[in-house]
């Protein structure tokens, strides 16, 4: 390992059902490398520090501007998008591992289908009559309300919050913070609130809101600084009201 190289330790896994193992690499240093550009450099010449030529590392990446959510992984133990992880700001050896809690496909590539399933479960959409023009927009939304909603609409389903959440994983049915925050977003929309009760019922059972252990890890790791725990708190109040409505009927 010379001064002019970057020391990388990667947790690898050949198949979904095979065991993990670690490999070490030394990559020529450039001042402005991020983890994606480093992995791109590595795949051109994937040779370990012991001189063994190995398969190029598999990982997912697309926009590289931290807006598509594809490239999240565990970097030095922290779940985060790898495109915005600058090598100069990381302690070496840099440890790369697949995003935890999601099934590994290969190496650093994981299957995040559960986020999508969660979004379906909470019905994270506005019911519209059809994708034609009704010659009318949606009702007005004031700037302050817009600003609060916009925070949540930037969620890119990277899965970092779920990876960091002690309640989420293969051991539990918990939806996780990202889909819950989308339920909050849809409930706030002037026509989305027509289906608020349905969304709340979807998060009032097993795997729903009450599974949140309030560890607050999600907000700490969210790369978009989305106030996930605020959303969960708001949903808590909404479900309480809903529960009373369910018991006593709407006034």
């Amino acid at each position: 390992m010379t001064e002019q190289s970057i020391h990388l330790r990667i947790r690898r896994q050949d198949r979904s059902d095979s065991g993990p193992y670690w490999q070490d690499f030394a990559i020529p240093a450039h001042a402005d490398h991020n983890i994606v550009s480093l992995l791109m450099a590595l795949r051109e010449n994937p040779v370990t520090v012991s001189g063994q030529r190995v398969d190029p590392v598999v990982w997912e990446h697309n926009c590289m501007e931290e807006v598509c959510g594809a490239c999240a992984m565990l970097i030095n133990g922290v779940p985060r998008p790898s495109c915005s992880a600058l090598v100069a700001e990381l302690d070496q050896p840099i440890r790369l591992e697949p995003l935890p809690k999601f099934p590994v496909v290969r190496d650093l590539l994981v299957d995040r289908r559960r986020i999508d399933q969660g979004l379906k479960q909470v019905k994270a959409w506005i019911k519209i009559d059809g994708v034609w023009d009704t010659h009318e927009g949606a009702p007005r939304i004031g700037p302050a309300e817009w600003a609060a909603n916009y925070l949540y609409s930037r969620c890119m389903s990277c899965g970092c919050c779920m990876a960091a959440c002690p309640q989420f994983g293969s051991h539990s049915a918990f939806l996780g913070p990202a889909p819950l925050a989308q339920a909050r977003l849809m409930n706030a929309h002037p026509t989305g609130r027509y289906d608020k009760a349905e969304r709340l019922h979807a998060i009032m059972g097993d795997g729903g809101l009450s599974d949140c252990g309030n560890a607050q890890n999600c907000v700490r790791v969210c790369p978009k600084e989305i106030p996930l725990t605020t959303a969960i708190g708001e949903l808590g109040r909404q479900t309480t009201v809903q529960m009373l409505k369910d018991i006593f009927g709407p006034r």
């Binding site: 450099a41 051109e44 926009c63 598509c68 379906k120 023009d133 009318e136 927009g137 916009y150 609409s153």
Partner: protein
């Protein structure tokens, strides 16, 4: 015949709009994407989407939007689709709003609009600094709703490999590969919509596009007979921050707010920029364009940076001295922070340097391909396009439709800012409607696809995979891709010349040969990304040949295609009525008579065969040259 079904390839704005429209009409849709659809490149568009709402007291008009779009594209776009798009834009915005898209608001809670490049009125709707992301999520949520109702089936992490064409050349489905198991399988469909996005990766890493914007899917359609049109027109954004992985966009607003572009006067000057005295700096935009200075138009700025770095050898930084400084450090930090906060944050985040204290380093980057798969339209009596015509957005391959950045339809020789989200959405919707009409018009006794066709095609694709896995040459696809990007950037980029284009085409043939024997470096039969990458690269090289040939043939300057040897400059200081200007206008007309036409490229074994088509100029005939003075 059972209910006809449709395959959509690509889940960005275009593909999802098409999906929604087709599924809404009651036809099942199978959606193929290389990744989860919400990660599509549409999310990268930051600025906004144009639609004339005329809510800013400026008497904005749809007519003006049409004219701006046509002139911005230097008249090369067929005008009826442009007219129809601009007319439908407000309705699209209303629909997006109903989907819950978080558009930015006025104090009254209405949709806000802002000013964007190349136009005079506030016409651009936006959602913070992430408009594309918000629009895509709007349609993504609707598709998820239809998916939960069983109307749409998604095949994410599947790659389209080829079309299934019947004996009459009609598209009847696709062959695709599961990117995990590498299974190659045929999928029958009664119509196919390709919405696979742009091809900016031809210029990687000097491109602002996502790594999946390879153009491979469009190239595969081209190889099977679909025409490419105007592929030589590629927009370069002048100010992108360079990275090893990609170039990230630095908004034009940085220049608009007072940023100055410069290089050291001495070639190879390695001093830190802040220590270089004012007298030893070359503020070349201010010298080249005294009237506009640093706020000169995108294409002019890109060419000037090209001249200074590639021809005058004054570029800074390593990497062949490519970069120039975009300097904000002389400006008031509080002012700049309030005006440019979000975009400077991007620079800080990805470059790790504060642009308030250190000049940014930037270079022009391939941003948007105006050209793409040729698509048809049916002109309506009012000069727009006929609603629901099955001809709209149909490629020349029956049953195959194209929409979004992979088509060529709306931007002519250059695209206006904030028109790409519009064209992606609009074309997706129109393509969806056209497909519905096409399906309704299919003969009910149409025979099934002969089973031999999918079997043969699957076997052919499996053979390609097997050969790639076996190859043991010296190169790897990753190294060849770097060479492709460098070649395209150097010789088929911002400034072009015929000798360089000739040599670029020859070099592409060499790359193609080398790729044939390149070793993948892995033989895994599970999630083998090198295999998919190598296949894409082969299609990219084919497409690069189309871009290069088109550029070589087109001996003129139009929009983003710039060949100085054929430039017809506006005589300085003259205007309409002046004899010099009128003589210029005559030359401009004569050039239009020769070159105002659509390039059509058809695949042959020996490279692209070019022909030309008349442009429909029925809405706004060219009488006035583009003149941003």
């Amino acid at each position: 015949m059972s209910t006809p079904n449709v395959i959509v390839i690509g889940g960005g704005l275009g593909g999802l709009w098409a999906t929604l429209r087709i599924a809404d009409a009651g036809f099942p849709v199978t959606l193929f994407s290389l990744f989860e659809v919400k990660r599509s490149h549409s999310v990268c568009a930051q600025g906004g989407i144009n639609a004339v709402l005329d809510t800013k007291g400026q008497r904005d008009s749809i007519r003006q939007h049409i004219v701006d779009t046509i002139k911005g594209g230097e008249y090369l776009a067929n005008q009826p689709p442009v007219k129809a798009m601009c007319e439908d834009a407000p309705g699209l915005i209303r629909t997006f709003e109903r989907m819950g898209v978080t558009f930015s608001r006025t104090p009254e809670g209405l949709l806000d609009q802002r000013l964007f490049g190349g136009v005079k009125n506030k016409r651009t709707c936006f959602a913070g600094a992430s408009t594309g992301q918000q629009l895509l999520y709007g349609v993504d949520q609707q598709v998820r709703r239809l998916e939960s109702e069983g109307k749409v089936v998604k095949h994410e992490w599947w790659e389209f490999l080829s079309l299934l064409l019947d004996a009459d050349g009609v598209c009847r489905g696709i062959v695709a590969m599961d990117l995990k198991s590498l299974e190659v399988r045929a999928f029958a469909a009664d119509a196919v919509v390709v919405a696979s996005g742009g091809m900016g990766q031809l210029y990687a890493p000097k491109s602002t596009t996502s790594t999946n914007s390879t153009g491979a899917a469009a190239s595969r359609c081209y190889r099977q007979g679909a025409w490419m049109a105007n592929a030589e027109f590629f927009q370069f954004h002048p100010t992108a921050m360079m990275g090893h992985d990609k170039n990230r966009l630095m908004s034009e607003a940085a220049r608009g707010e007072g940023g100055r572009i410069w290089v050291p006067k001495t070639p190879g000057d390695r001093r830190p920029p802040k220590t270089i005295p004012e007298a030893e700096r070359f503020y070349f935009l201010e010298e080249f364009f005294p009237a506009y200075g640093n706020t000169v138009a995108r294409d002019e700025a890109a060419r000037a940076i090209w001249t200074v770095t590639r021809q005058m050898g004054l570029g800074i930084g390593g990497d062949g001295g490519d970069r120039v400084y975009l300097d904000l450090t002389h400006l008031d930090a509080a002012f700049i922070g309030s005006r440019l906060g979000a975009i400077l944050e991007i620079y800080r985040k990805f470059a790790g340097v504060d642009p308030m204290t250190e000049p940014m380093e930037i270079f022009p980057a391939a941003h948007y391909g105006m050209g793409g798969l040729w698509v048809d339209f049916e002109r309506s009596a009012d000069g727009g396009i006929q609603p629901d015509s099955p001809r709209n957005h149909a490629t020349n391959v029956p049953g195959l439709y194209a929409c979004g950045e992979c088509d060529y339809a709306y931007h002519g020789a250059n695209r206006l800012g904030a028109n790409s989200l519009l064209s992606a959405s609009y074309s997706g919707r129109v393509a969806g409607e056209a497909v519905v009409s096409y399906l309704k018009g299919l003969a009910s006794d149409r025979g099934a696809l002969a089973p031999g066709i999918p079997q043969t095609e699957v076997a052919r694709q499996q053979t390609i995979n097997a050969e790639l896995m076996r190859a043991e040459g010296a190169d790897t696809p990753y190294l060849i891709q770097k060479e492709l990007g460098a070649l395209m950037t150097a010789k088929v980029g911002v400034v072009r010349s015929n000798p360089e284009l000739v040599s670029a085409f020859d070099e592409l043939q060499v790359l193609r040969e080398r790729l044939r024997s390149a070793r993948l470096g892995e033989s895994s039969t599970w999630a083998n990304q090198s295999l998919a990458f190598s296949r894409q690269l082969s299609d990219m090289i084919e497409l690069a040949g189309v871009v290069t040939r088109g550029a070589l043939a087109r001996d003129e300057c139009r929009g983003a295609h710039y060949k100085p040897a054929f430039r017809i400059p506006i005589p300085e200081g003259t205007f309409g009525g002046d004899p010099e200007f009128e003589a210029y206008r005559d030359r401009w007309h004569a050039n239009n008579a020769q070159w105002l036409k659509t390039t059509i490229a058809e695949y042959t074994e020996d490279g692209p065969r070019l022909s030309y088509q008349e442009v429909d100029l029925s809405v706004y005939p060219p009488t006035e040259p583009r003149d941003y003075r």
